[in-house]
């Protein structure tokens, strides 16, 4: 494939450079008053050449275009896979608008660079080499000019592309910023509208867009000074002058001069696109770098080789400290906690006390900054992520559903699940109740992030999604906050059996759940301040009592922790 492509390209480029020679031949035929037969013969030859060239041209252009898109399509896929394997810490620091800008914007530039720009570069390089070859053969003395000027020409292009480098980088970075802003504002459209923030937001967008267009302008003004044709024009003028001198001294014939002038003019014509090509190639470099940066980012999730089978689903935190980045505060400090296999533990605490973070560590989404998290007695990092995550499932607080059908969203973690399994978990999570009322039932599309559903409906789908995995450890992070009492009650009853048969961690503020948990843990500013049964803590822990004091009459404090 590639060999044929290269050979095809070379043949095409040679054919592409032939017409000037034909022109010179015709001029010669005119001068020597050739016979009609000879004339017709050359016309036919010319016709044949250009027909073959045009067909080859089309095929080569297409093959090149296909290859270019193949490359960028694969790069997009690589970027996708690579990003999926990066740690969450890495993801915390990149923004979705930026990712989108790279995934589609930078690949587009790379694309243009590979086709037609690269093909074009080939064409011009081969055309020059071929021309020099022919001219050397025709008249050595006269071709010296082009021979000397060609390196100058190459040097011009090289310095130009190099000079544009920093401008290209800036251009792409600014482009990302535009994309980031648009993506974020669209996510917050409701807030923007309810605060009449549209015009401020547009102003901000306008500023970013203006920055981007300014960089674009700088880039193009820098490239305006570049005129590769100048060198060729110079070659053409010098060749003319020198050629006439040689002609006068009878060292050159007129048709030979025509060959020189025609072939150099030919290069001049194809140089027209060179400026565009070099600027594209320079942008290519920065786009390729931006893509490579992400594709080869080595923040891959580290994982072990052990398979977690879920039989001993105990969880243990050993002196765990955690912070999201080196500059931020510790979110968890000195956490020591053991949860037995099959136990149900409820976690309570104020906003920012570290409840959700604790769960993310159990899912191995983040690695503890200090200390260890053990699952089934072994350090969590010693397991494969797949086995850990197929045995532990979580109903997250900030529910993220995909713009797909309800069915696809429930089977998200287990695409092979049978419909009856899906139906079972949908029943437990009370999803059936509202799905049945929908015209398209499970095939109903729920819009981006589930916009077409109420908060409670989203939560119920998330619960069904988690249950379908049939995990040995179930984490529910504030999973019922948007549910009304009755729905919650129904789900609670249905889920009871599910919870009883596995290790469960439930973040909640609902009294009913706290009272039924085997144990309650109170978090305060990243530390465990109380640990015991609901009744026990209600009698003894000031932290726990504080949660209820305002709302309920409590028995007087007994021990005090």
């Amino acid at each position: 494939m590639t060999i044929t492509t290269i050979i095809g390209s070379i043949i095409e480029i040679i054919l592409f450079s032939l017409p000037p020679l034909f022109v010179a031949k015709f001029v010669e035929l005119f001068i020597v008053n050739a016979t009609t037969e000879e004339f017709i013969l050359w016309v036919m030859l010319f016709l044949l050449t250009i027909t073959v060239q045009s067909i080859l041209f089309y095929f080569m252009a297409i093959v090149n275009e296909y290859l270019a898109h193949r490359v960028t399509t694969d790069m997009t896929a690589d970027l996708f896979t690579s990003l999926q394997n990066q740690t969450l810490q890495y993801h915390d620091n990149i923004r979705s608008g930026d990712i989108m800008a790279r995934a589609t914007g930078d690949t587009r530039i790379l694309n243009i660079g590979l086709s037609p720009a690269l093909r074009f570069l080939n064409q011009i390089v081969f055309a020059i080499i071929f021309t020099i070859g022919v001219l050397l053969y025709v008249n050595f003395k006269l071709s010296i000019i082009l021979l000397f000027i060609s390196p100058l020409y190459a040097y011009f292009i090289y310095t130009y592309a190099k000079k544009l480098g920093p401008y290209s980088d800036e251009l792409q970075t600014d482009f990302s910023k535009v994309s980031i802003h648009a993506a974020e504002s669209l996510s917050g459209i409701r807030e923007i509208k309810s605060f009449n923030w549209e015009s401020e937001d547009s102003k901000l967008f306008g500023k970013l867009s203006s920055n981007h267009s300014q960089s674009y302008m700088k880039f193009h003004i820098a490239s305006a000074y570049f005129y590769p044709g100048l060198v060729i024009h110079l070659a053409l003028a010098l060749t003319t002058i020198f050629g006439v001198v040689l002609l006068i001294n009878n060292e050159l014939t007129f048709p030979e001069l025509v060959i020189f002038l025609s072939m150099i003019s030919h290069i001049l014509w194809i140089s027209g696109g060179l400026q565009w090509m070099s600027s594209i190639l320079s942008r290519n470099k920065s786009s390729a770098r931006r893509l490579m940066d992400m594709i080869f980012a080595d923040n891959y999730e580290k994982q072990g080789v052990n398979i977690f089978d879920g039989k001993n689903a105990s969880i243990e935190f050993k002196d765990v400290y955690f912070r999201y980045s080196e500059t931020s505060n510790y979110v968890l400090t000195s956490i020591n906690l053991r949860i037995e296999s099959g136990e149900t533990v409820a976690i309570v605490g104020g906003p920012g006390s570290g409840k959700s973070t604790l769960n993310k560590l159990i899912l191995n989404l983040y690695k503890p900054t200090l200390g260890q998290v053990l699952i089934g007695g072994k350090e969590i990092q010693s397991y494969t992520n797949e086995s850990i995550r197929s045995q532990i499932s979580s109903i997250e607080q900030d529910i993220f559903l995909f713009s797909d059908t309800i069915l696809a969203n429930i089977s998200f973690g287990n695409p092979e699940a049978s419909f009856s399994e899906i139906l079972d978990s949908a029943k437990i999570a009370n999803v059936l109740e509202f799905v049945d009322k929908m015209a398209e039932k499970f095939e109903t599309r729920i819009g981006e992030r589930g916009v077409r559903l109420s908060g409670g409906q989203k939560q119920r789908i998330a619960i069904a999604r988690a249950l379908l995995l049939n995990p040995s450890i179930l984490i529910m992070d504030d999973a019922s906050s948007s549910l009304d009492a009755e729905t919650e009650y129904n789900i609670q009853k249905a889920i009871q059996n599910v919870i009883k048969t596995r290790t469960s961690i439930i973040i909640t503020h609902r009294l009913s759940i706290l009272a039924e948990a085997d144990r309650v843990i109170v978090l305060e500013k990243g530390q465990i301040v109380a640990n015991g049964t609901h009744d026990n803590l209600l009698r003894n822990s000031i932290y726990y009592r504080r949660l209820f004091e305002e709302h309920y009459h409590l028995q007087p404090l007994e021990g005090g922790i």
Partner: protein, 594 residues
């Protein structure tokens, strides 16, 4: 995508480009003038060639003309340097025009899109909108140059034609006889090219949207071990895009070879014509061979530009269709100033559905006096959030009317209405930026002192003071580096800072623990005093003190009244209420009086 139903004729698209270019019309005209001048100068080259060649031809002894020949060649060399400077000015001009054009288009499109109704954003994935606003406008980056090129090339062609005819009409005919075919081919190809380009861009938007969505929610995919399946699914749409790009490639790249072929054929016709015109002399024939190249240069340029223009036009069409669909636009026709309302709210027989099939609200009527608090109660999906969405005019009612101070809310100037309503949504959104910037969204001119006061009301001082930089703490995209409860506190503070007449609180404490909730509750009740408010909550403690309670089921009001009226009625409300306590109390006695 519903918005893509709008189709544009090519003429309309050109008109739009022209409108955008007109913003920069001075530069555009200068540019065209420069481009024409550029070519005028570059024609001097071949003409001086002819002079030189004439000398070669008329005599076999060239010696006496040596200097003349070299002079003409030097004139040619000199013009090259002039061309260099002209080109420089020309390119700078192009850069400025291009820049202005796509920047203007992009901000206009952005402005327009942001004015669309919420239902538009419900139906169109944000990744696709971003793709139109950002990627598609990139396809237009070179439009200014192409446009100026297009016109100057046409002028050049006319000038050249004049020059050529003045030299020799028959050879001129030989040089251009093929040209009309080019135009025919361009015109037959354009619809095909544009539709392929459009299809390709549509595919890119899908890739963009999917990519963004997956990466935004990567934690979910990771915790469900979904990476491989994600990649498989993504590959399907990625490969579809590859297929679309191949189709587009075939359509766009057909023009180049055909152009080349026709150009070469036209050399042939010139040669054949010359064969019968040998008497004009070799110099003239060679001049025409040069002029033929000069003539076909612009023609290839025009056709290449024109077929690449189809790609730009496709992008422009996609942008225009998203920005010019007036039916998506929010209605800003109201003129009544809503910034000084009292706060009386009345719903009269309001019915509403998101789509035509299922009615979400039917026949909702209620009246809420100035300063009163209304609580909405009901199962999830009963229509509680929809009622408040209608009040803030995220959606417009299908039947009935909503009045504030006896004025239909559609009659208010929309921004002024919204400035009087503070809305804390169920899913709070925090902007990327500092905490201060997030709060200032409510009121740009708020002082730090006012900001801290609002923070105190929602009991958030402690957590903010613990953050590095306090108010200057940078919140990440979608607030991921603070907890959800903290996000709720910030969005609540934002509304308090806005100081609106009407406050809507939709599940505003759902992620907070009881202790924090209680603290906020007390402060909030002070804020709510004297303001009209609508509260949605599942924690009945919030509801008990409301002036009025509506119980909703399946989009209808099934009960209404105060807590006491409803409890004594022994209906659905008391049922919900009892279940709540039976379920929630677990032996504790609530402090609130039932």
């Amino acid at each position: 995508m519903e918005s893509s139903k709008i189709e544009f004729k090519e003429g309309e698209l050109w008109q739009n480009i022209y409108q955008l270019l007109k913003l920069d019309s001075k530069r555009l005209y200068i540019l065209i003038a420069i481009m024409v001048f550029n070519v005028a100068v570059s024609i001097v080259g071949p003409l001086s060639f002819k002079k030189a060649l004439d000398q070669i031809e008329v005599t076999t002894d060239l010696k006496p003309f040596e200097y003349e020949i070299i002079l003409y060649s030097s004139i040619y060399s000199f013009t090259i340097f002039i061309i260099f400077f002209i080109r420089l000015i020309q390119n700078i001009m192009i850069a400025k025009i291009n820049t202005n054009l796509f920047h203007q288009l992009r901000i206009q499109a952005y402005d327009k899109v942001m004015q669309n109704k919420i239902s538009f954003f419900d139906n169109v994935e944000s990744g696709k909108i971003v793709s139109r606003l950002v990627n598609d406008s990139n396809e237009l980056l070179d439009t200014g140059r192409r446009f100026a090129d297009f016109f100057s090339q046409i002028i050049i062609l006319i000038v050249l034609l004049g020059v050529m005819i003045s030299f020799n009409p028959i050879l001129t005919l030989g040089s251009i006889v093929i040209a009309p075919f080019t135009i025919i081919i361009l015109l037959t190809m354009r619809d095909y090219q544009r539709s392929r380009s459009k299809n390709w861009q549509k595919n890119i938007a899908v890739v963009n949207s999917r990519f963004g969505e997956i990466m935004k929610s990567i934690a979910i995919s990771k915790s469900f071990g979904r990476e491989e399946e994600n990649a498989n699914q993504f590959n399907i749409i990625n490969e579809q895009t590859y297929k679309a790009s191949k189709e587009r490639g075939r359509a766009i790249f057909i023009v180049g070879p055909i152009q080349d072929f026709l150009k070469h054929i036209s050399i042939l016709t010139l040669i054949i014509f010359s064969y019968y015109q040998l008497k004009v002399g070799i110099a003239m024939i060679y001049l025409f061979i040069l002029l033929q190249a000069y003539f076909w240069g612009p023609i290839s340029e025009i056709s290449r530009n024109y077929s690449q223009f189809q790609s730009s036009l496709a992008a422009l069409e996609r942008i225009l269709s998203i920005m010019s669909n007036e039916s998506n636009r929010e209605d800003h026709s109201g003129v009544v100033d809503g910034s000084n309302i009292e706060g009386n709210i009345r719903f009269n027989n309001v019915s509403f559905s998101y789509n035509e099939t299922t009615e979400v609200l039917s026949n909702i009527s209620f009246n809420l006096g100035v300063g009163e608090t209304l609580a909405l109660v009901g199962h999830t999906g009963a229509g509680k959030s929809t009622i408040v969405s209608l009040l803030i005019r995220f959606y417009d009612v299908n039947y009935g009317e909503i009045l504030i101070d006896n004025t239909n809310i559609n009659d208010f100037y929309l921004p002024s209405l919204r400035s009087s309503i503070g809305y804390v949504a169920q899913n709070t959104f925090i902007f990327k930026g500092t905490i201060r910037q997030n709060l200032k969204v409510a009121r740009l001119d708020a002082s730090d002192e006012e900001i801290w006061n609002a923070i105190d009301v929602v009991q958030a001082r402690e957590f903010i003071e613990n953050l590095p930089g306090n108010l200057n703490y940078e919140i990440q995209e979608e607030g991921t580096n603070i907890s959800q409860g903290q996000r709720q506190m910030i969005s609540l503070a934002r509304v308090i800072l806005a100081d609106p007449r009407i406050i809507i609180l939709d599940e505003f404490t759902s992620s907070l623990d009881l202790y924090t909730e209680a603290k906020i509750q007390n402060a909030i009740s002070v804020v709510l005093k004297n303001r009209t408010s609508i509260v949605i909550a599942h924690r009945l403690t919030t509801i008990i003190n409301a002036d009025k309670i509506l119980v909703l089921a399946n989009g209808r009001i099934i009960e209404e009244g105060t807590h006491h009226q409803l409890i004594t009625k022994n209906g659905i409300y008391s049922d919900i209420f009892n279940k709540y306590f039976e379920f929630q109390l677990k032996g504790l006695t609530p402090r609130v009086k039932i």
